[in-house]
Symmetry: C2
């Protein structure tokens, strides 16, 4: 059976990790930064050397195509992202892009021709760490967001996504969307502990959890810490405590699949000797079942309403983003399962807890995902790690799932 070249793939992962590499061994290659630009440049250089035709669309998404025998047939696409969290790791996103390139390199090495073209895509700003919402490049491609909306997103310094895209030279001219795909695959580290605990090398991903993002804004009265008696205060931090308590309780009520994450609590003005006038709390709720996620949304609103009755602090819940649960395409799942069986790799079916570009692609073309384990389930962390044997096994599964869809010619 055809096998990928693990050394080449691993070396490229390590080379890419040097761009934005951090002292702790992680990566800071935040979307549309100077590092992101350098990562993109290197990826395009490799794709061009591998004989691909490269195009960039107005969202900065990069498409590298290996021709098939019949140029009129829809491509089989493999995509993920090159951007990282501010304190991210070497594998999140980049593995999916470079594994796709390795599939093409492997076909080149063995002079394999396919009926359908094969296309590798790197999507812009998957992480959402600099510009919210996440997965905006694939979202615009698939028609979920407008280009204008994406361009108007701002980072913490007030810079817009549109300006920054132009600044790094990646506002391309390829038509937006309008690409026909027979199937799309995304391979990614699991970003959770399950595969490692179950001693599997590959996860056959059948769908993705739904995600709901909010900002809860609690507004009190900014006052000096010393002279105001406690009873005179309108303190948003104090008011937040019962909210936080009950929000975490949601994860227990809807266990084991519910996830509740509070990423930040930004007090303003945020100095030691001032009772904050405002506290902004991020909420990330997830569940694989749309009905339960809706119930969690409704519970959240009740919690806030109830707590509001017992305080003079004002509360406002901003609905930032909702990504419904996704069920992947049965044919794509079957292609991955068949590759796993052929290769005799220890694997299991599972649901993704994280959002991925594949979520938006699933609404555009038949799509599924492949996971490999990451050490200790750590991700969005500089210590994120994946084992070479899993990186290799996953990419071989990707190779054969892709070949079955792209129709290898003997």
């Amino acid at each position: 059976m055809l096998k990928i070249n693990q050394n080449r793939l691993w070396n490229r992962l390590m080379t890419m990790a040097e761009i934005g590499g951090t002292p702790k061994g992680g990566v800071c290659r935040v979307a549309l930064s100077e590092e992101d630009k350098r990562g993109r440049d290197l990826f395009i250089e490799w794709c061009t050397a591998a004989g691909c035709t490269v195009e960039v669309d107005p969202m900065g998404n990069i498409f590298a195509r290996r021709a098939g025998i019949d140029p009129n047939l829809p491509a089989v696409m493999i995509g993920s992202h090159l951007d990282s969290q501010p304190t991210g790791g070497k594998f999140d996103g980049v593995y999916g892009v470079l594994a796709g390139l390795e599939v093409i390199e492997c076909l080149n090495d063995h002079n394999v021709k396919t009926k359908h073209p094969i296309e590798i895509v790197s999507w812009t700003n998957e992480e959402g760490a600099r510009f919210a919402p996440a997965m905006i490049g694939s979202g615009v491609f698939a028609g979920t967001f407008s280009l204008d909306y994406a361009y108007s997103r701002t980072d913490k310094e007030g810079k817009t996504l549109g300006e920054e895209l132009v600044k790094i030279g990646y506002q391309g001219t390829a038509p937006l969307g309008q690409r026909a795909y027979k199937a799309t695959f995304e391979i990614h580290i699991e970003q959770g502990p399950i595969l490692e605990a179950e001693e599997k090398s590959v996860g056959i991903v059948t769908g993705v959890q739904g995600i709901h993002w909010y900002d809860l804004i609690l507004t009190g009265k900014e006052t000096h810490a010393g002279p105001s008696p406690m009873s005179y205060r309108v303190d948003p931090v104090k008011a937040a405590i019962p909210v936080l308590q009950q929000v975490y309780q949601l994860a227990e009520t809807y266990a084991p699949h519910a996830r509740v994450t509070i990423g930040y609590l930004d007090a303003s003005p945020g100095v030691k000797n001032t009772v904050p006038g405002q506290l902004k709390i991020s909420l990330d709720l997830r569940h694989p079942d749309a009905d339960i996620l809706e119930q969690m949304d409704s519970d959240l609103k009740s919690i806030i309403a109830e707590v509001s009755e017992h305080t003079t602090v004002q509360s406002e819940l901003e609905d930032i983003w909702y990504s419904p649960p996704v069920a992947f395409d049965p044919n794509c799942i079957t292609a991955v399962q068949a590759a796993v069986d052929q290769l005799q790799i220890p694997a299991m079916q599972m649901v993704s807890g994280a959002g991925h570009d594949a979520v938006y692609l699933a609404g555009y073309a038949p799509t599924s995902m492949i996971f490999i384990p990451c050490e200790d389930g750590l991700s969005h962390n500089e210590l994120e790690n994946a084992f070479p044997e899993d990186v290799e096994a996953g990419t071989n599964v990707l190779l054969h799932a892709t070949l079955s869809m792209a129709e290898q010619l003997e």
Copy 2:
């Protein structure tokens, strides 16, 4: 009886408030900023025009002296600060400095001579908003901190106080400390609601609450929000909830004088879809009784130790600053009380809830404070306001307390 010129004082307060003035009517004149420099320059210009001799020490503290008949006698000093909170008001600090200048202007107007010199001081970085700890200029002057320690303090961007002092041109050459004072007064807005509620124009301040500042650092495990089951997480935000709850409880246990303030909760990395690896919580505990404040400190440590037993999140309590409760000088208090009586101003004795430069001065020379009300008790807030009649009444009390100590010559 001699009275100050309220129009001149009020106009100067409003002119100074334009430097760093905010759209909401507040002031952002943070220590050692460009605005702080402009405020200092204007103050020195006014003092020089009023015939004062101006000196600056290596901490950037500004001393403006009106000569007395006998240059060998210790001065009577009136001091406060020109720096503000990032979202501060028009009166906090600056009132104490310009009221002092108005006392000198009034004596000039009426050609009054005093036996002792009178000195106005503006202390560097009272607020501690940019460089912690607060009151560092008066603290170095009085010998509580070393100059090197002060110079090494950094702001959030990593700039040191020493560098920034040089940058605005206020690292002076006057000998540090070594100034003899017969008495020192600080007049300030109350920054609390008591005087207004009691319908008094002046507070005769007999002492200051003790203050204890900490950073509580909770360290968990930074992980991706979606894929990590709740039971695998080590989440510092979740671990913080029972700590926050019990810390606020301290204020009730030691009511009514105890104060508990949480100024910020900084999650790191602070993005929506990552369980924070670390949460840094500021704690500000205050009480006028040193024994009770020590008990609160001990209770705080027990709370953290107990919560630590029930979580794998690591906790560390950093002791940032302690300012013991202060009892002011009986003779200074008597001088203020006598001025209040002479002027027949509605007044009451009280304890300050906030720290002030007078706390460090009290360890250096006989010292007391005068308060005036501020609207709704609001301070460290752009809406901070004081009424002209109270500004006038307080300054007249300051004038006569100063005159009784400086010994007016008929």
